[in-house]
Amino acid sequence: MSETLSGADMLVRALQDEGVEYLFGYPGGAALHIYDAIFKQQKVEHILVRHEQAATHMADGYARATGKPGVVLVTSGPGATNAITGIATAYMDSTPLIVISGQVPTSQIGTDAFQETDMVGVSRPVVKHSFLIRDCAEIPRTIKTAFHLATTGRPGPVVIDVPKDTTDPDITAPYDYPESIRLRSYKPAKRGNGRQLRKAAKALVEAERPIIYSGGGVVQGDAGPALTRLAHRLGAPVTNTLMGLGAFPGDDPQFIGMLGMHGTYEANMAMHHADLIFAVGARFDDRVTNNPDKFCPDARIIHVDVDPTSISKIISADIPIVGDALSVLEELDALLETELAGHSERPGAAASKAWWGQICEWRDAYGLDHVMKPREDGVILPQQVIQSLYRATKGNAYVTSDVGQHQMFAAQYYKFPEGRRWINSGGLGTMGFGLPAAMGVQFAYPQATVACVTGEGSFMMNMQELSTCLQYGLPIKIVCVNNQALGMVKQWQDMQYSGRHSESTYSDSLPDFKTLVEAFGHVGFRIDHTSDLDAAMDEAFSAKLKDKVVFVDVWVDPDEHVYPMAIKGGSMRDMYLNKITTSQQGDYM
């Protein structure tokens, strides 16, 4: 005999049965039956945020750091709509999220009732799937299905909209939590096609100028070690997308940096001149390819992705492989091992030596070290902030970021040792993501060092969560690259609008962040001279302040730009290298 429970109790019980540790949320009328059920138990800890957007980012940060789904609970109407930005953020970066939203009672749906929003409708374009509960008896199976969908195949957010009457404490139904779910309409790919894998293996061993281009799918699929083994076997250069950083160790000699709009010179040049691109868990995003018509003219393309829609969406693949990154990389590595057995080196190896020589030349000419020119007057460059952070944390921190110049600098200059260490909003580019995401990471790993690299613009989009940090004792270290402006906007205005800084500066009205964070019960420093940078960073990460939120407000050169930067409309080799030099050559445009 199964137990009989109310919808609200079933919902919370199902979360317990899924092993959910934290529920990030904010109460309101339509969700109150559920909140009452939460009150009566201890297994699932509810985290009270200060804004629903932050709840979704916290759950997202938790999910990205652990690989487990993040779970959110919000009320109807504004609670639900406030969650949308976070849901869209998770959707664009394919993170597993379960968002439970309260809804007005079934009888009031469609009547423009108080705090009514068609959540299933509003969220439709930014969810993997969604459900509207019609009867409390549906709750256990729906929750099981939602977790199954969110976490398998290409992960993504799933919304469950729960009308208040279906959680009524007086209406009960039998509770049976399904062991597993089979859906006739949903069968995510697992293993790659054998024939395609063999074709890919052959192409890889024969390539003369190969490059491995790996993305967020490798991080999500926990396939970093498998990728690293394969890359070492081939000896090929590896570039990571913004979302893929860490999947291949940032300090490995075969790593040539991030690629794309603000990728390294050597990574973008190597992509453009490659004869074989092995793309895995990456989606040829416009921020990577630049102009698709001019994309890597000599390259054959192997494209591995768990989502068939990503393949040949932007760039047509020569060898498409639909499959899970881990499974495909392991099978491919085994094939390579067999293929190479008995050979002292792979057929393309001789040519590859020249290829590496070329890549090193590119790196020596215009690598990141060349791009940054430290100033002699003590003004801090934003890149130096990241270098100092890397040094102070010995490369071992979980780093979240917001969106803008500081995000690009962090991606360029922090060398991540493994996947799930670098957490940022790559696809949607959501300002305000960094702090709550860092909090989600800290909940997952209370002992870990968690740094949020932010800018003063992004930080002010979700700074109310400083209060939540105090409530739950989350000792996030916030490194604010303060350039007194919306730096990336300003950079584009410098480069494309003759320096007309339309609505991108506000230096007269910035708060004193030190006093601001102190008002929230935290510790703040402000520094503006290179001679203080390392000391401040060391103090922020010192044992003395281990249990405190520390906000390091670093005033940097407001005129610094992020370089390299892709030249719009060009190929991957077309870049601005600094304020006066471009890489343009030959047949550009």
Binding site: V120, G121, R124, P125, K128, H129, S130, L132, L149, L183, R184, S185, Y186, D307, P308, T309, S312, K313, S316
Partner: protein, 164 residues
């Protein structure tokens, strides 16, 4: 660019159709016609939609449809031989000497007059979309009072089936 007809088996759930339609809007794909009804299995609906685009675009549409959790199967009916039909009603001004002409045109196209008033005929016509277009062209435009078309429905010829 070519016109294509896709048959989609869909879970017969609330909101399922809106996901299909939403996908087309969201990805900037065009829907020319759309028909939907439950199948003999009440848990499944069958959608037939016609769209246009290059082979690459149709492939993307098919893949995106398949990605929707409610979509059980997708078939591009034009991949092999198929039967396509569309139903149309046309209300036509039929007065004086034109009345007989309307009747004759209707007979040529094997239409049926399903409603008659002193001044108008309502004609029912089934066939491939081209045939319905031709019928409209054959009529005096000023005589057409109202047109309603069902959109295309289709099924593969031979042994090929679309089933869950």
């Amino acid at each position: 660019m070519s016109r294509r007809v896709l048959a989609v088996l869909l879970e017969n759930e609330p909101g399922a159709l809106s996901r299909v339609v939403g996908l087309f809007a969201q990805r900037n794909y065009n829907i020319e016609t759309l028909t939907v009804a439950p199948t003999e299995d009440a848990t499944l609906s069958r959608v037939t939609l016609s769209t246009d685009g290059s082979d690459e675009k149709i492939e993307q549409i098919t893949k995106h449809l398949n990605r929707l959790v409610d979509v059980v199967k997708v078939l591009d009916l034009h991949e092999a031989a198929c039967v396509e039909r569309e139903l149309m009603f046309v209300k036509i001004n039929a007065q004086g000497p034109d009345r007989a002409e309307v009747k004759r045109t209707c007979d040529i196209f094997r239409g049926q007059i399903v409603d008659v008033t002193a001044t108008a005929y309502t004609v029912q016509l089934t066939g491939e979309s081209r045939k319905l277009d031709a019928f409209i062209r054959a009529l005096d435009r000023s005589a057409i009072i109202e047109v309603v078309r069902s959109g295309v429905s289709g099924i593969s010829r031979g042994e090929k089936v679309l089933s869950a």
